[in-house]
Amino acid sequence: MKIENLLLLVTHYFDINTIPYAVVGGFSAIVWGRGRSTYDIDIIIEHNKLNFKDFVEFMLRNGLKTSETDLKKAFEEHSHATILSTDSTIFRIDLKGIYSSLDRETIETAKEINYKNQKIKFGSPENLIAHKLYFGSDRDLEDALVVLIAQEKALDMDYLVLLSNKLRVNKKLERLLEIVKNKNI
């Protein structure tokens, strides 16, 4: 299955079943301005609203592999469940539940993007930048920088600062802003 169809299919399921979700990670970075590769679609869902049996049947009918056991185990362990396609695609979906108030906030502040007549919810750019600063790998910091530049005028700076304080990355945010503003760095 094409990765595009994978994303459209699974988010459509969440929409028609009124399961709050947000696409986060690499695809969120792409949507907000970072041109980069990724092989997984990371999604946070309100797992308590998921009808496991129905979801698994839907996935299987559409050529995707998952099981009730794997999903329940992942959510219980506050981990992620991987959904693979039965064809040979290298792409996959990683589903994560709401495990913290920040996960809930990610879903509640998600932004809708219209793609191929379907509205897909992505974690906000503020959320992406703050979390990328929190994770802190070289790639994460590059993602945060590019998205900050690309979204500079559209960002809710008050919210970004608030979120950065919650994640205790306020110093990193200050540094990132300094880098963006000072072209001589």
Partner: protein
């Protein structure tokens, strides 16, 4: 707690700034479409590479 302050290599920073400026004018749906095209292409290269090595792609 002391936060770790980071930096970027100068040439890398130049590229990243440029990327951010270029992508400013591109709507999110277009960014997604471009990404999908690139990812499909990279998958086809990956599969072709595996075939050429005589390896069997994991279909499980």
């Amino acid at each position: 707690m002391v936060s770790i302050i980071f930096s970027f290599r100068k040439d890398r920073l130049k590229d990243l700034r440029q990327e951010g400026e270029i992508t400013k004018g591109v709507p999110p749906d277009q960014r997604l479409r471009i990404a999908f095209e690139f990812l499909e292409f990279s998958e086809s290269l990956y599969k072709a590479g595996n075939k050429n090595k005589g390896e069997v792609f994991d279909e499980d």
